[in-house]
């Protein structure tokens, strides 16, 4: 795929995406069943919701690599794993096969979902507004205090793998910052509304080992309307 063609696709997608609230629905075409009777599942790669050339502080090269290799790679891997699981005689399979496949399935599924949230959260500016801003003040004391904790957790994860997520916790009806050392760690029953990718693939190309500079750049480009609409939806769940 040539660079120009890539750019046109992304710009087109960004135009559509600008009028759309990001959803977390996965696309599942009703399909034939496999030999074991398990329905065939195909996860689809979503389009990048912004023009990668226009994100301040993160280069196009890095964003395209992140999208094509890490995110899309996870979706493709997930489809391969799902197909393997569907064809497995689960009762007869050795425990390490079951363990291995289910572990890989979890890693790939979460990588897919959380990367989509990450990309949906890029390309904005300024501070949160409205109900979300009020909730941050209520749960953290101030928006500044929330920013300080969120970025500190991100910086603490530098040099390896992980995520820091702003999640709504239905149990206590509050927002929390969640630490994760890999794709498999999330708040039980939590609804993440903003994710910062602290895997080195998210920043190395631009920032080398300077994870803190990447985190600072991220804090300037958060797309608050996405987090805001997700918060409104989740906080209304009963």
């Amino acid at each position: 795929m040539s660079k120009d063609q890539t750019r046109r696709n992304f710009v087109g997608a960004a135009g559509i995406a600008a009028a759309t609230v990001a959803t977390t629905a996965l696309l599942r075409p009703a399909a034939a069943q496999t030999a074991t009777g398990v329905p065939k599942t195909e996860y689809a790669i979503k389009k990048l919701p912004f023009d990668p050339a226009k994100i301040k502080g993160i280069s196009e090269k890095l964003l395209v690599s992140h999208y094509e290799n890490n995110y899309s790679g996870a979706v493709k891997r997930l489809n391969a794993i799902t197909a393997q699981l569907a064809g497995l005689d689960v009762a007869a399979a050795p425990v390490f096969v079951v363990n291995g496949l289910k572990r890989e399935e979890l890693i790939a599924t979460n990588s897919m979902i959380i990367h989509e949230l990450y990309f949906d959260g890029l390309g904005g500016e300024g501070d949160p507004k409205g109900a979300l801003a009020e909730a941050l003040k209520k749960d953290f004391g101030s928006v500044e205090r929330w920013k300080a904790e969120f970025s500190a957790v991100g910086k603490a994860l530098g040099g390896g793998s992980g995520w820091v997520m702003l999640s709504y916790s239905p149990r206590d009806k509050r927002l929390v910052n969640t630490w994760a050392a890999d794709h498999t760690m999330t708040l039980a029953n939590g609804r993440p509304i903003l994710a910062l990718d602290m895997y080195e693939h998210a920043y190395q190309m631009d920032y080398g080992a300077r994870a803190a500079a990447y985190v600072d750049a991220f804090m300037q480009i958060i797309r608050w309307d996405n987090a805001g609409s997700l918060f409104e939806r989740y906080s209304k769940e009963t």
Binding site: G73, G159, S161, D182, G208
Partner: protein, 318 residues
């Protein structure tokens, strides 16, 4: 206690396909910061008053210390693995790889496969010497903390993305290929030679039974599987048998305190193996007594529980 920096040995500008910029970022930014963090934690730990500090604080610091110490050690090994002509494997290493993997190629294929499987995240692949059995294995870990207990790694490839992103982006395969081309085999071999001098974990001996011939549970199993004629006596004490639920397939129980009553049943020509619960003195004493009476008797080291641990067949003890 202060940990000191290990200087780079390889000359970064001579590496084949890996740039000095990547090495510098890795060495200063990742290795250097791990060492500095290790020293900061060590200072904190040393300043603690153990009586006044909660377990959680100690736990947190020690976990961090382990991660940073391992990062320091593994990064030093990584940089000490680079700077040679990776295609030329010296004789001692080639012989060891052939012995433990079938061939240098088989070793290489497995090592590369493990490395590529870690693409997109964090981890290490190590060629590790295991003193217990005196052999090399490839080992994959998802972070600094996953290593073979007691293993001595002699070659390391860093599969954290910071190790390759600057030069290779997401192309982990190209990085792994470049790494393989740059392996300093002379250094690896030196570490292998040092590792082979490390003794296996010292077995604790039952000194009082040192002179009594023993058989391992695996040897007994091999005899039984081959259909060899052997008389297996379960000599677990009578009081124990009231609690026992199973007995080795192929064994008969005899009371070790009443040897005279059953010694006459035994064939004088077929070998005898005796065992007890754990392989301590009852099984041994019985074997000693039988040997004194002219039987070719041995005790099974580890006893009944060792037999079950290797998955040996048992039947209900009636």
């Amino acid at each position: 206690m202060q940990y000191h920096l290990a200087p780079l040995f390889c000359r970064p500008w001579t590496l084949n396909g890996i740039t000095p910029r990547l090495i510098e970022s890795h060495y200063e930014g990742n290795y250097g910061s791990a060492l500095r963090r290790l020293n900061a934690i060590t200072e904190e730990l040393e300043a603690l008053d153990p009586a006044a500090t909660s377990a959680e604080v100690v736990n947190r610091l020690k976990r961090d210390e382990a991660a940073m110490l391992n990062s320091t050690l593994l990064h030093e090994l990584y940089f000490a693995s680079l700077g040679g002509d990776g295609r030329t494997v010296p004789d001692t290493m080639a012989a060891a790889l052939a012995r433990d993997f079938g061939s240098t190629d088989r070793w290489r294929q497995q090592f590369i496969a493990l490395a590529e499987a870690l693409a997109g995240g964090s981890g290490w692949v190590l060629l590790t010497y295991v003193p217990r059995d005196g052999r090399l294995i490839n080992q994959s870990g998802a972070d600094h903390s996953q290593n073979i207990a007691g293993g001595i790694p002699i070659l390391a490839i860093d599969m954290y993305e910071h190790a390759y992103h600057i030069d290779f982006g997401a192309n982990a395969s190209a990085y792994v290929a470049a790494f393989m081309r740059n392996i300093d085999w002379a250094a690896v071999q030196g570490r292998y030679e040092d590792a082979t001098r490390v003794a296996p974990p010292r077995p604790l001996e039952q000194k009082q039974f040192a002179g009594v011939p023993a058989m391992t549970v695996e040897e007994v199993k091999t005899m039984l599987d081959a259909g060899e004629r052997v008389q297996i006596i379960d000599a677990r004490p009578r009081h124990y048998t009231t609690r026992a639920q199973d007995i080795m397939q192929g064994a008969v129980w005899r009371d070790p305190e009443r040897l005279d009553e059953w010694i006459g049943e035994l064939s004088k020509t077929d070998p005898v193996v005796t065992y007890c619960v754990y392989g301590f003195h009852v099984g041994c004493e019985t074997a000693i007594a039988l040997r004194k009476a002219g039987f070719d008797a041995r005790y099974m080291a580890g006893g009944h529980y060792a037999w079950k641990a290797i998955g040996g067949k048992v039947r209900l003890f009636e």
